[in-house]
């Protein structure tokens, strides 16, 4: 369970590599032997239960924390205390911090600090995110502060952008704006985004890959489309009673089987085509094959780990 798995991304050199990464806070193990590789020009969603270690993973990726053991590598080099690597990494934590009180001053601060600062992009982003350059940042709402932090981070033209709960506090329009901006940066500038969030619905239509952290271990790393299509929910009714074992004999990998009167609800690890092909042979009166939402996949995977969610899928 603790071992990291999967090799997402299509770049030859992963932009970020975690090798047997562990981090503890006193007796609490926040991350335990996590291994994964994140390829370039992609959007990677990091999901997980509360206290799973998502923020810790991001802080290790940003070089804030020193790994207790293992390594966090940016383009093959350790991130911790690596100033040149940090020139290309931007981390927006869940509570942004600003050294100066206005966006204007902060832009000057970042301009003097980051070699990749793009003034044209900054001005363009200001037209997308309606923030006053001379308004006091500490008097802005949480959502506006987050917009300011993300805007400043993107204008630094990083290669790796780490976002912790980036959509929290943003209104729906701004959320879409942010997604569009990030998608464009990924396409045009080979940006890689690693985003940790509890809001799975936000990640669903946005990420290329997702990784699920639970109790400090990485349960899986998967391409989102493959993940959603690999497990489907089926609602069906048949003229004769059908049992779980009967469906198993037909070659279906049944993960969960429930009946409600004559209606059967099953979770199957298989493709939609395969399920249709198998179940059509039983002449169903009703057959609905539904892909699972990311939230349902999340709940299902955690239920396998005895997390208290087993009934939520019903």
């Amino acid at each position: 369970m603790k071992k990291g798995i999967g090799i997402p991304g299509d770049g030859d050199v992963p932009i970020l590599t975690a090798e047997n990464l562990s981090k503890s806070f006193g007796p609490v193990k926040a991350l335990d032997l996590v291994s994964c590789r994140i390829g370039g020009s992609s959007i990677f969603g990091l999901i997980g239960s509360n206290g799973a270690g998502k923020s810790t993973f991001l802080r290790l990726a940003a070089g804030v924390y020193k790994p207790a053991s293992g390594q966090m590598l940016y383009q093959g080099q350790p991130v911790y205390e690596n100033a040149p690597a940090k020139q290309e990494i931007q981390f927006v934590s869940d509570q942004p911090f600003f050294h100066f009180d206005t966006l204007n001053k902060m832009s000057k601060f970042n301009r003097s600090l980051y070699l990749g600062w793009d003034q044209v992009l900054y001005e363009e982003l200001l037209t997308i995110f309606p923030l006053g350059e001379n308004d006091r940042l500490d008097r802005m709402s949480r959502g506006m502060q987050r917009q300011a932090a993300v805007l400043l981070a993107i204008a630094c033209n990083p290669r790796l952008l780490l976002l912790d709960e980036a959509f929290d506090g943003l209104d729906p329009v701004m959320r879409q704006n942010l997604k569009r901006v990030l998608a464009r940066q990924v396409a045009d500038r080979q940006l890689t985004v690693l985003i940790a969030s509890q809001n799975l619905r936000e990640l669903e239509d946005f990420c290329d890959h997702v990784g699920l952290l639970h109790e400090g271990g990485l349960l899986f790393v998967e391409e989102l489309d493959k993940l959603r299509l690999s497990i489907v929910k089926v609602q069906a009714a048949f003229p004769q009673p059908v049992t779980e074992s009967r469906l198993g004999e037909l070659g279906l990998d049944i993960l969960q089987f429930r009946t409600r009167g004559s209606l059967i609800e099953i979770l199957v690890r298989s493709s939609e085509e395969e399920i249709n092909r198998v179940l059509e042979g039983l002449h169903p009166l009703l057959l609905d094959v539904l892909p699972l939402s990311l939230e349902e996949v999340f709940i299902y995977e955690l239920s396998l780990k005895s997390y208290a969610v087993s009934d939520l899928l019903a």
Binding site: D12, V13, F25, G26, R59, A62, G63, V64, Y65, K66, Y74, Q75, G76, Q77, E81, A83, P84, A85, K86, Q87, E88, I89, Q90, F91, S93, Q95, P96, F97, H99, F109, S112, L113, Y114, L115
Partner: protein
């Protein structure tokens, strides 16, 4: 396989500039307070009053201890020492306050700057701020004395002023150690002040027990209380070289702890940090000397302290009490703590007491002056 990453541009100068920029207004405020305490105060007193007041004393008057102070400059100098104390606490905590907020630590630790560069840039900005404050005040005071045709008074006073500056920097460097070690700003200030107060108080008790005060050799006893040195420098001839060595020493210690400081210290109470047991012997020392001296004064005043059993009983009880207090302050539940863990700091504190007392007895001068 590695790919090339461009070298980072911002250097020490960048950190220095930004840090200095952030403490500029406070630096100006303390410069004004310095001016108010010395040259403006002198102008308010007036040349004639000044000369009348100092006419019956000269700079060699031993009643003032430090030879470069006279009757007027002595209280003004003490006020400068008090303002210096406040300036160290305020400016140092302003320069390093971002240590204690998780979001600030997230931001700063992810910036393309090494921790050594961040530390040195900030420390240099603090040094520059104090240089500015002291230099502006010196220039203004010199101007006042020059206007009065008494430049010699300023030149004589400058020795005490330089010692105050050195003692201020020593205190600053000492504070940086605790700022680098602590999890919250409140704890950093409290620990820094607490350790100095406990140390100075214990030293005074131990010196009082021997009823002797030696000369320069016992200055070593004040090393853990640079705040006291701000004021001692007014009364006693202290070596500027000793201060310089201690400034370098504490700065290196602070830099070491800053470099080793994990980001996860942010917001954690000192009592929960792994170095806290090293602090507990100071609670023991303080509690022991305080209670020991108290019960001795109460029940066996006529007897010599070091040969008084009552004192040692009070010392032992106070040591245990000090340890209990230190554990309670750390937020740990007494019933959950192990006896062996509690005894070790007590033994360390008592050893410290024995060493200090031994040192004082060794250094006793035959004709030492009472404090």
């Amino acid at each position: 396989m590695m790919t090339a990453i461009p070298q980072s541009a911002p250097g020490l100068g960048w950190v220095f500039g930004k840090s200095f920029q952030r403490m500029r207004s406070l630096m100006l405020l303390f410069s004004f307070l310095f001016l108010l305490a010395m040259p403006i105060a002198l102008l308010i007193i007036g040349r004639d009053n000044y000369l009348t007041l100092v006419s019956s004393y000269n700079f060699l008057e031993p009643a003032f201890g430090e030879q470069s102070l006279n009757q007027v400059l002595w209280p003004l100098h003490i006020i400068l020492a008090l303002i210096s104390l406040a300036a160290v606490a305020v400016l140092a905590s302003t320069g390093f306050r971002t240590f204690y907020l998780q979001n600030a630590v997230d931001r700063e630790s992810s910036m393309p700057l090494g921790s050594s560069r961040l530390f040195l840039g900030r420390a240099l900005a603090l040094l520059a701020a104090f240089l500015f404050i002291f230099a502006v005040n010196a220039a203004a005071t010199l101007a006042v004395f020059a206007g009065w045709g008494k430049i010699a008074h300023f030149l004589t006073y400058s020795a005490a002023y330089l010692k105050l500056f050195a003692a201020t920097l020593e205190l600053l460097a000492f504070c940086l150690v605790f700022l680098a070690l602590s999890g919250t700003l409140f704890d950093a200030i409290l620990t820094c002040l607490g350790i100095q107060f406990a140390w100075a108080s214990s030293v005074l008790h131990i010196l009082g027990m021997t009823n002797r005060l030696t000369d320069l050799e016992t200055d070593i006893l004040w090393l853990l209380s640079p705040a006291a040195r701000l004021f001692i420098s007014t009364f006693r001839p202290l070596s500027v070289w000793q201060s310089l060595i201690m400034i370098v020493f504490w700065t290196i210690v602070a830099w070491f702890f800053y470099k080793k400081r994990p980001a996860e210290y942010a917001g954690v109470r000192n009592g929960q940090l792994p170095w806290y047991p090293a602090l507990q012997p100071f609670f023991v020392l303080w509690g022991g000397t305080l209670l020991g001296s108290f019960v001795h004064g109460l029940f066996a005043e006529e007897q010599s302290v070091l040969s008084s059993p009552v004192f040692y009983m009070g010392l032992a009880a106070g040591a245990l009490l000090g340890q209990v207090v230190s554990t309670v302050v750390s937020g740990k539940q007494l019933r959950k703590t192990k006896m062996t863990k509690e005894i070790l700091p007590v033994l360390a504190g008592l050893t410290l007491f024995a060493l200090m007392t031994g040192l004082v007895c060794l250094c006793m001068a035959p004709a030492a002056q009472p404090w």
